[in-house]
Symmetry: C2
Subunit: 255 residues, 2 copies
């Protein structure tokens, strides 16, 4: 049987420690190709590059893995992987991450990591986004690899429901303190934000976006409950944004 | 009674004709403040600016309307509007657009226009994204204004369901050929894409992303059906991406 073809992407860029961790997860499971941004592209959501051309550089070949980097966004990485690097080949799995930092609750919407996984589902390619709840560049990915790998193996073996990817978040605690894996739904939460005002050396104002996840629900079936209770959160994700339940309420707008 | 406070944002930037059209829709309905990008930021999805500071320039005051532009993304425009420009004031409505080009089907996911509207719903501010199916910088916004305005008036009067915004798309036909308004769901569709390969003057390859909406369903309750049949499409949009229906299928992953 042919080895599965796995495309790895991320949003933390080609130098991220989380990329090495994802390669560790994937390399014994199939043929691996890496296409990642040439710098940090966190918080890019589903952005694509429309107004400038994309570059694609083969910057490394190691252990049979081919590595590319691009000036594009995480979503562009999936497009370049599918349409240029692996053109005419069937990709069996897209892995995104391992992200430095949480993609639970509403962070999912801002996440370049998860947007890349969602992009893969448009062509019905199974995809898994892995995120560790530690923003540090030197984060310890041991638990993420330990719990991420069997989930990825199961997805390779069983596939995923149609047009669906997984949002997997791993708590920032040692392996032995993680209690298990929970399948969850996205909790309702918002970022509590501020825009810190400063003045540049030329007397002009500028603003830094700061914030933290706030005002979230903690029902037992949610991602935040699982993570706060030291479970790995596994969430099926899709891309229909319709608020179906409210269609009847709005029928009065029809003319 | 106090006039409602309306924040206008867009993704086509401060020079877009669609911005003037949105001001035309809003100016008699309330107090209007504009915060828009300083250049075209189409296809930015839910991107935010985390790695560089944001600038905010008051570039115009006209007819009682204050106009700001920023180096940020469409979503940043909402954050700057809420947290800096209108700090401590209650915003009654966010209007995003009028966009040059469709945001129907999966384009909704890539859209900076709609991401800005969704951003407003995080703080439960009613929001309406208006998009005209014409990418031209000189697009004729007559029909978009004609059909957009009564929808915006209804939203001001009746509000919207909690944490919900509207994705309104207007077909590219004269007013008199538009048959009416349909409340729709997001149709399943994908972009058929290509990455056009070129060579720069220095012999290095680069790629342009090109594409068109393809392989979409045309059920009668969808946005694409409405638009192709010359109806305005009005779609309630929310931000829970969980594939709830597949949670039971994935329970086997729990440990």
């Amino acid at each position: 049987m042919e080895k599965p073809l796995i495309l790895i992407v991320n949003d933390d860029g080609f130098e991220a420690k989380g990329l090495d961790a994802m390669v560790t997860v994937a390399k014994s499971l199939g043929e691996v190709v890496v296409v990642v941004p040439d710098r940090t592209r966190s918080g890019m959501g589903h952005a694509i590059t429309m107004n400038e051309p994309l570059r694609l550089i083969n910057y490394k070949n190691e252990d049979g893995i081919i590595y590319y980097r691009t000036n594009g966004t995480p979503v562009d990485c999936v497009k370049l992987g599918e349409k240029v690097v692996l053109r005419d080949r069937k990709i069996d799995l897209v892995l995104s991450g391992i992200n430095h930092g949480s993609n639970s609750s509403v962070s999912l919407i801002y996440s370049g990591t998860m947007a890349a996984a969602i992009e893969a589902t448009f062509d019905n390619i199974p995809a898994v986004g892995l995120s560790l709840l530690d923003y540090s560049p030197n984060a310890d990915f041991t638990a993420a690899i330990h719990f991420g790998r069997p989930i990825v193996e199961q997805v390779l073996k069983n596939g995923l429901p149609p047009y669906t990817c997984l949002n997997v978040n791993i708590p920032k605690v040692p392996v032995e303190e993680i209690k298990g894996v929970k399948v969850t739904r996205q909790c309702h939460g918002v970022w509590h934000e501020d825009l810190e005002e400063r003045t540049d050396p030329f007397g002009r104002k500028y603003y830094w976006l700061t914030g933290c996840l706030d005002r979230h629900e903690l029902a037992e079936d949610t991602c935040e409950w699982a993570l706060q209770n030291h479970y790995v959160s596994v969430q099926p994700v899709q891309f229909d944004l319709t608020a179906h339940q409210y269609i009847p309420n709005l029928k009065y707008l029809e003319q």
